[in-house]
Subunit: 161 residues, 4 copies
């Protein structure tokens, strides 16, 4: 099994530029995370987009969809900003024969305290064990995207009651 | 679902005592890891042993077995030193109706660079998705303990050829 | 000797708010840094401002000046954004009988890789050893603020040639 | 000014070897610390010894002494285990025309929480500001080695009352 990792940006890849006094979405962190964990899986990182997920357009979502659809791989982890993760999950639903797990983080991977490493590991694990479909790996759980929402106040994903 | 986390020690929990100029197995780190990841799962930490796994005796392994067998829970993550992880996995094989995932790390969780967070996340994810049985979550993969060995030179688990 | 630590904000205290998708100047990090270093000095943290230094006004600079002038202490570390650190240093020059060391960082203290801890330690050390005057502790060196500039390209302070 | 950094081992450089289930004194960490802090000083790292300071012999101490004595440099930072740091400081006292600052740490530099970065920064700063003599930079302070002791219980250096 080879795992394809499609990176689209989001908080997980945010870095801080002192020159501009601002954060920006930087290069994907996921490769470093997998190396530090001494992962022996076959995987390939596809650097697709580098955007805050609020800035993703319908064209971007179409690009993500087409990229995964046309790729011969069958197991995909998609790193993504959390604000529109559910929209992208919905767009991917039309793909029936692949396992697709979206993940991201609330704190950048570059931070000393972050949920990024945990979430990446959860997605990498889930994509190996699940049957075809679209899933969200966040907050230690594997969700059906149709049944959750992002709780902005508590900064986490929750099941819709 | 409630996940029971049984901690037995190992490198993952090693801390450094300057007073004695040595590493020792300290309090379980897994709770801090789950808090930092903002995990919303129901889980309970059972602090059972605090030993380097080379020091685990048959009596210790029996204790781990009895603890899990008699616990009403059905989903168990066991943190464990890597040197005898396969022995404990073998001892747990007689339990048929529970999902048991063992994990540990090659570098202590207290280190700035460590595989501990990744491995804990992998085990926590796997235990939610797998059917009853005993599994090892290490190096980004989920293994059948009967089919792997620890490669001491490369410091990782590998499938037996 | 008691060291008074006046915090004014800047990159060193930046945190990330996922709710707003932005970095903001958060609570001063210096207390945590001193605790982690097991510092046994007498010190007191005066939380004065919480601003990116580009947003500091003349009124803010006057406040910093008045605060230090009227304080009975004689040893001051001032944490400050780097963009206008030299302006504040200039404003403090009229105070003749106190040791004042300004410091900050190019990467937030919350980052896994940061110059914040090093710079705080440099300032804390310098303030104990220098005679009255205003100094900048950055990039491992102790500078006379009248003789340096911030090199925006290389993201560091340098002597004026 | 060029700062010569003489590394002798100690907790600050301890790493963990899973293969042997033990820590060892590894390669000096100080270069990485200075790089991460974006230090623009001229410095040179002299890797002299790699020992827990309890294992340093009189011959080792003589080697440290001879190395510094015969070196043309005038500013020295010596990284050293804390248990016999005061003995080495005493041996260096016969050198009259150089500034020598010893430092170390109670927690390894490789740890996520450590006093190593702070202590290195303190020593690097102090060596630039002090007049010739031997000093200890620990716990945020600069000590005269003749007037302190290591408090084993509290894991810190303290003035002798």
């Amino acid at each position: 099994m080879i795992i394809k990792i499609v990176t689209t940006g989001g908080t997980i890849d945010k870095i801080y530029f002192d020159r501009k006094n601002e954060f920006q979405v930087g290069a994907p962190q996921i490769g470093e995370v997998l190396t530090e964990a001494n992962v022996t899986l076959d995987y390939e990182v596809i650097q697709l987009l580098r955007k805050d997920s609020l800035d993703l357009t319908e064209a971007d979502r179409r690009l993500i969809y087409e990229t995964i659809l046309s790729d011969p791989g069958r197991h995909f982890v998609i790193s993504h900003g959390t604000d529109t993760m559910l929209l992208t999950a919905k767009a991917l639903k039309k793909i029936n024969d692949k396992v697709m797990v979206l993940t991201g983080s609330m704190q950048p991977a570059k931070f000393r305290q972050t949920d990024a490493v945990f979430n990446i590991a959860a997605a990498i694990t889930a994509v190996q064990l699940l049957k075809p479909g679209v899933y969200i790996a966040m907050n230690g759980r594997i969700f059906d995207p149709a049944k959750i929402r992002k709780n902005i106040e508590l900064n986490r994903f929750e099941p819709i009651e």
